[in-house]
């Protein structure tokens, strides 16, 4: 009791001030140096394209070993050089210690999931978009479906039965008991293309001005054709391929030697390209791919500064 008398008002106030460290919202501050996808302003419909470009980047940036694995296993080429894993793959021997087999599975799925997150982001923009924006979003999603289908198609050609992700939520695979067969995967791809085709621009990829070389209706038809070829559904192949030919938009490039060089980029022959560029700089920053494994080895190029390749492929 006697202590009470010793308190004076200013002192009590002091105590209160000290103990009322304001419990403000500082604890809810986000981690710095992050671009929070959830914090994006989805009403900016013009920004929607960033997510689409991101999907193109994810799908086209491939490690050097992956086209080799896909092409060898797809029987387009034969393995060569000292890559035992690739040689085994050519003989249909699955070798789980070969890094190419592992990275193909891992990074293809990573990029398929990236396509799903991209589509989901575009969907969020559509919620705030006007009619025009919604239509554009639908086209972007259709493009993403084609890009995703290209990866899934190659993955199934290498491994046969593979999982079909339906969204970016990885928990969907927590209790999976069966794997879709290769036929189911190919049918899924064909169905996806049927959904995408009407939403895509009716032009050659090189006619696109917004994203030159981007996916068009004919890219989807091409994917549909090859998927049905795997299904041995030859009528559907003929229909899809026929639709491309009937458009009259495509013609063979006049110089086969140059087709796979710079002059052949985005030619009228092209249904879709994985695009790389040094943006005309010749040095510095670029969007690139390592071509050395494709090149024949043990020869001296006449061009100064050029070197021979790794020789991991032979044409059959």
């Amino acid at each position: 009791m006697k202590y009470f008398k010793m308190y004076q008002k200013p002192q009590i106030l002091l105590v209160l001030i000290f103990f009322l460290v304001s419990c403000s919202d500082v604890l809810d501050q986000p981690e710095l140096n992050n671009n929070f996808a959830g914090g994006t302003d989805f009403s900016q419909t013009d920004d929607m394209i960033f997510s689409l470009v991101g999907i193109y980047q994810a799908v086209t940036s491939r490690g050097w070993e992956q086209p080799l694995v896909v092409a060898t296993r797809g029987d387009d080429v034969n393995a060569a050089g000292d890559q035992q894993g690739l040689i085994n793959l050519d003989r249909y021997v699955y070798d789980n210690s070969f890094f190419g087999s592992r990275t193909l599975w891992e990074t293809y799925y990573e990029d398929i999931i990236a396509a799903h997150t991209g589509m989901e982001q575009i969907g969020r923009y559509q919620e705030f978009a006007d009619e025009e924006g919604i239509a554009l979003g639908n086209q972007y999603i259709a493009e993403a479906k084609v890009l995703r289908a290209i990866l899934l198609f190659q993955l199934s050609r290498v491994y046969g039965a593979v999982f079909i992700p339906e969204s970016s939520d990885l928990d969907q695979f927590a209790d999976v008991t069966s794997v879709p067969t290769k036929d189911e995967v190919m049918q899924h791809i064909s169905d996806q293309m049927d959904e995408a085709i009407p939403l895509l621009p009716d032009m050659r990829p090189n006619e696109r001005t917004d994203l030159p070389g981007g996916v068009t209706r004919y890219t989807a038809l091409m994917v549909k054709a090859v998927a049905n070829q795997e299904l041995k559904n030859y009528q559907a192949v003929a229909d899809a391929a026929g639709a491309i030919i009937a458009s009259g938009k495509f013609s063979l490039f006049n110089n086969f030697y140059e087709l796979f060089k710079t002059p052949g980029k985005l030619s009228n022959e092209s249904l879709f390209e994985f695009q790389y560029s040094d943006f005309g700089q010749g040095e510095g920053d670029r969007v690139d791919h390592l071509y050395a494994p494709y090149g024949p080895n043990s020869w001296d190029p006449a061009v100064d500064g050029a070197s021979s390749g790794w020789g991991f492929l032979n044409l059959p």
Binding site: D28, Q29, P30, F36, A37, V53, G54, Y109, L211, G213
Partner: protein, 1012 residues
């Protein structure tokens, strides 16, 4: 405590007046002092009575009515009491000695102090005298072997602190097991910036009951550092401490010399390697002693190491007047590195601490500490390069006129695949870290009720800047493609600003036999970090051009990819309270509670309770007073602690900027993550039981503890479904448990001679209890480490060697070897024989087993000291065992072309039936069959015993007269002798992976302490 002293003093004063004394009573005056000067408030009592007084602010006392044949008892908390026979003297001056084992001693417990006798938890305190015995720039190094349950893994590189683990490894995440350092109230991740001479005490709060007041930061233990302060009414005391020493690398690994290496190369089965020896003979001549060996014999370790200097100079003044106390200090420390390149550390510290009584009730404290350190980081890759470099090549080859900047010898000239020479990298690289650290604090305390209720508010600001400058100058070997083309300059600037505001209200009272202290407080912390870096190429460089050109502005190119920045801002908000209660000094109760909020994780708030109880059985009436047991306390505690050392999580999906090409035009894009991490802190629940006892006239003290610490919600990586990578989740469960015992014997044999012997021993069991359904967590790449349930964190994982094949018949008879041969591998005599653990007659990845952990299962320390007249001597020894080290240098032979190897291997290698059943042949160690996986040959025992410190001091007789400095000279040998079996420089490897570990040198110093 203070209150009781005051009450006691009042009662003395009152009672002394009531006593009636006989004729032979006199008045005695005098001064009580300690090593630092007069001691105010010391108690002076006539033995056998309650009559006495206290010394005044100048340490003086006057006591009436003292019997001429009486005895005065002079005592002060924390000091050994003295009994002085009066013998008719009217002036008695007494100097009290600090009593290091006194239970009346007050220990720092965080936001306050507590009497040692009242502790229910496990706290170990190391004092300044012990700390400064170790010649080191990092105070924590001085604790090695001195605190049971504290593992200190030394670091040899100048300016880098040791790795500290208190009671094991409580987190799976690397680096997240570091303790919290609290310097005079401010939080730190390490205390390498501090000058050890400025430290008064280091207290290690080991158990939950002790550490829990620090809540979410306390899970790995707390290290409290109190810097030196002055005392009121203390005459100014000036102290000067200086030492100068030399560091010498001990236990340097012996590499194969040219003759041994030539034999290894010729036995390797590689024609190319044998030919390289011939090439070396061609190039450098033939040895006249052994014609099969080139006339070069380079001992690379000998050449890259040097004796290095170490020096330290400190100057300090402490003192006080009636209303204030002060302590100021200056310190300079310099340590060269034993690696022969610029890897030095230099630190200049300046410090002040002031305390004023503004009024009877209001006290103000201010302190400032500035530390300015420059550290040149070593190029530790030199240690690996030197290990592999062939001895048949010199450092410099004068014929290499094209080489730049010096004619470096190149192993490629002998047809080796690599250049091998470590000197170009060492001589053309300079990594400078400039760290400036300031800690300023201001605290104000006000006694709302005098001596009972105190309100304290304290503000701390720790501001640190780090400027990194990495310079890589070009060099050229004169041929081939081995060169460093560009001069590269990396500049990276970081600033860290951390502000803390603590408020506490402390109530202390004693009534009847109840003693109570209650504390309530709040804390607010704001930590912000910024970083900016850029890389420039080809600034002016060459002979005669130095650091004046190390600027980005002078670089021809700025590397766009090398430009980056980073930042972090974290907030912490806490409420905490503590109750310490003791009844009659017999029954102790202690409890704390802390609520911590942090912005670091998605779950913001954590609540951390703890409780401790103690029973001082020796205070009970039934306890025999006259027995050999002077003090006996049982104590137990339980509590929960948080670990917020784990890196923060985003809690939401994020996007990264990417570029894609469309028709040769760059389009910016975003890739959004599909999942994210949402973490909370790890929670450690710890139970500790222990006893504290003092026996045989308090000469023997014993402290024993048993603890178990269980970390739940441990952050572990969880593999993502379908896609590569992992996310961190709070789903692991880990456990550490152990036993600690500390024993000390102190004996004052005579006035001239006293000695002490002590030791400590601790055990540790680290166990993983849950991995959330995952079979194992594997890391470490080639040098695999795999965590499984029931094992330790990250033990090494590989094949078990079962000897060496001696004959072809033995291989013929072994189906596992035959299976390997059928698969295309080569197995020959001199190759390892492996244990087929799964019994499938094939040796493969499935036969790998746990090869041991890098965490020692026991550690110990021993100390011995004596003072004889002016001489003082002390000796410390330490040791540990039960851990293993992966000899990564030896194992790396599998991916290192044509390397040298250590002499131990060269001597013991298998080279014919019966020569070794342990070491493979020179061919075998290179053979994929023998080295395809990590195996038990490459994982060695890490046990060691070390003579840690020997110090001999001599104090000069004090001069009479006014100027009478105390001068002590001493010599110290730090780490003069280490015994171990491991084939490396040092058995101290923080993570057990010995690749480029900097050797830990012995240090020999001569020093002087002067006190005025």
């Amino acid at each position: 405590m203070k209150i009781r002293g005051v009450l006691l003093a009042i009662s003395f004063l009152v009672s002394s007046a009531t006593f009636v004394y006989g004729q032979d009573n006199i008045t005695v005056t005098g001064t009580v002092s300690d090593a630092m000067g007069p001691l105010p408030g010391a108690s002076v009592v006539i033995k056998g009575t309650t009559s006495g007084t206290q010394t005044d602010f100048d340490g003086n006392f006057t006591l009436d009515g003292v019997p001429t044949d009486g005895t005065l008892v002079i005592s002060y908390i924390g000091y050994a009491s003295q009994e002085i026979p009066v013998d008719g003297q009217t002036t008695i001056n007494v100097s009290l000695q600090e009593d290091t084992q006194a239970l009346d001693e007050v220990v720092v417990v965080g936001y306050g102090t507590q009497r040692k006798a009242d502790l229910t938890g496990s706290i170990a305190t190391v004092k300044s005298e012990e700390i400064t015995k170790t010649p080191t720039g990092s105070a924590m190094q001085a604790l090695q072997g001195k605190v049971a349950g504290l593992q200190v893994v030394s670091s040899g590189a100048p300016g880098t602190g040791p790795t500290i683990r208190i009671r094991g490894l409580g987190s799976y995440v690397g680096g997240a097991s570091n303790p919290l350092y609290v310097v005079d109230g401010a939080f730190y991740d390490d205390i390498d910036f501090l000058n050890p001479q400025d430290i008064e005490t280091i207290s290690v709060l080991k158990d939950a009951s002790a550490a829990a007041i620090y809540g979410v930061r306390a899970a790995n233990g707390v290290v409290l550092i109190e810097t030196k302060s002055g005392r009121k009414n203390q005459k100014p005391q000036i102290s000067i401490n200086s030492y100068q020493g030399v560091q010498i690398a001990h236990n340097v690994v012996k590499l194969s010399n040219s003759a041994q290496f030539a034999t290894l190369a010729r036995e390797s089965g590689s024609e190319a390697e044998a030919q390289s020896i011939e090439n070396a003979i061609q190039r450098y001549g033939r040895s006249r002693i052994n014609p099969n060996v080139p006339d070069v014999n380079t001992d690379w370790y000998d050449l890259i190491l040097r004796h290095a200097l170490q020096q330290n100079h400190s100057f300090g003044v402490t003192g006080g007047a009636e209303n204030l106390s002060y302590s100021v200090g200056l310190n300079y420390f310099e340590q060269e590195g034993i690696l022969k390149m610029k890897n030095d550390y230099e630190r200049f510290n300046i410090r002040s601490k002031l305390n004023f009584d503004i009024s009877d009730r209001l006290n103000l404290g201010v302190s400032a500490l500035f530390s300015n350190a420059t550290r040149f980081r070593p190029e530790t890759t030199a240690f690996a390069l030197a290990y592999f470099a062939v001895p048949v090549m010199p450092v410099l080859d004068p014929s290499k006129t094209e080489a730049y900047p010096r004619p470096y010898a190149n192993a490629q000239d002998l047809a080796y695949r690599g250049t091998q020479n470590p000197f170009p990298v060492m001589e053309n690289t300079e990594n400078r870290n400039k760290t400036r650290n300031t800690l300023t604090t201001l605290d104000l305390s006000y006694q709302l009720i005098p001596d009972k209720l105190t309100l304290k508010t304290a503000y701390y600001h720790n501001f640190e800047t780090l400027e990194v400058r990495e310079v890589r100058l070009p060099f050229f070997f004169g041929n081939g493609n081995a060169f460093r083309e560009n001069a590269t300059l990396i500049k990276r600037n970081q600033t860290l600003s951390e502000q803390t505001w603590d408020n506490t209200l402390t109530f202390t009272d004693s009534f009847d036999k109840h003693n109570l202290t209650v504390l309530a407080g709040t804390a607010y912390r704001d930590r912000s970090f910024e970083q900016l870096e850029a890389t420039g190429l080809n600034f002016p460089n060459g002979p005669g051009i130095g650091e004046e050109s190390y600027f980005l502005d002078l670089s021809k190119t700025i590397d766009v990819e090398g430009v980056g920045d980073d930042g972090a801002r974290q907030y912490f908000l806490s409420y905490f309270g503590r109750v310490a209660y003791n009844f009659d000094d017999k029954y102790l109760l202690y409890g704390t509670y802390r609520a911590d909020g942090t912005s670091k994780y998605q779950e913001k708030w954590g609540y951390f309770p703890t409780i401790g109880v103690g029973w001082v059985i020796s205070e009970e009436s039934f306890f025999p007073d006259e027995g050999f047991v002077n003090f006996l306390k049982f104590r137990g505690s339980w509590g929960e602690l948080g670990n917020s050392n784990v890196a923060s999580s985003t809690g939401s999906i994020t996007s990264v900027e990417v570029d894609a090409a469309f028709g040769d035009t760059r389009f910016p894009g975003l890739v959004t993550s599909s999942d994210f991490e949402a973490l909370k802190w790890e929670v450690t629940a710890e139970t500790n039981v222990g006893i504290t006892t003092r026996l045989f006239d308090n000469q023997l003290s014993l402290e024993a503890d048993y603890f178990t610490r269980e970390t739940r919600d441990a952050v572990i990586p969880v593999s993502r479904l379908l896609v590569p990578g992992e996310t961190r989740q709070n789903v692991g469960l880990l456990k550490n448990s152990g036993f600690e015992v500390v024993l000390n014997w102190n004996k004052q044999v005579s006035e001239d001679f006293n000695y002490s012997i002590g030791g400590n021993f601790s055990t540790l069991k680290n166990e993983v209890l849950d991995l959330a359904g995952q079979e194992n967590l594997t890391s470490g790449g080639d040098l695999a480490q795999r965590t499984v349930i029931g094992g330790t964190i990250n033990p090494f994982f590989g094949l078990e060697v079962d000897g060496v094949y001696q004959t072809p018949e033995e291989i013929q008879a072994d189906p596992a070897a035959q299976a390997a041969i059928a698969d295309g591998l080569v197995v020959e005599p001199g190759d390892f024989k492996f244990v087929d653990h799964n019994g499938d007659m094939i040796i493969d990845a499935q036969d790998r087993v746990d090869l041991g952990s890098y965490i020692p299962t026991y550690t110990f320390g021993f100390n011995l000291g004596f003072n004889y007249k002016a001489w003082d001597f002390s000796l410390n020894a330490i040791g540990q065992g039960g851990n293993v080290i992966a000899n990564q240098k030896r194992f790396a032979i599998r991916q290192t072309p044509d390397p040298n190897i250590d002499r131990d291997f060269a001597i013991n290698r298998w080279h014919g039936p019966g020569t070794s059943n342990e070491y493979p042949s020179a061919r075998g160690i290179r053979n994929p069959w023998s080295n395809q996986f990590l195996n038990s040959f490459f994982v060695e025992k890490g046990d060691f015993v070390r003579l840690q410190n020997v110090t001999l001091g001599y104090t000069l007789p004090q001069l009479s007269g006014k100027f009478s400095p105390e001068v002590r000279f001493y010599i110290t040998a730090e780490r003069p002798l280490t015994l171990f079996e491991y084939n490396g420089f040092s058995p101290e490897v923080p993570d057990g992976r010995d690749d480029q570990t900097y050797p830990i040198p012995g240090v020999y110093t001569v020093g002087i302490n002067v006190t005025l």
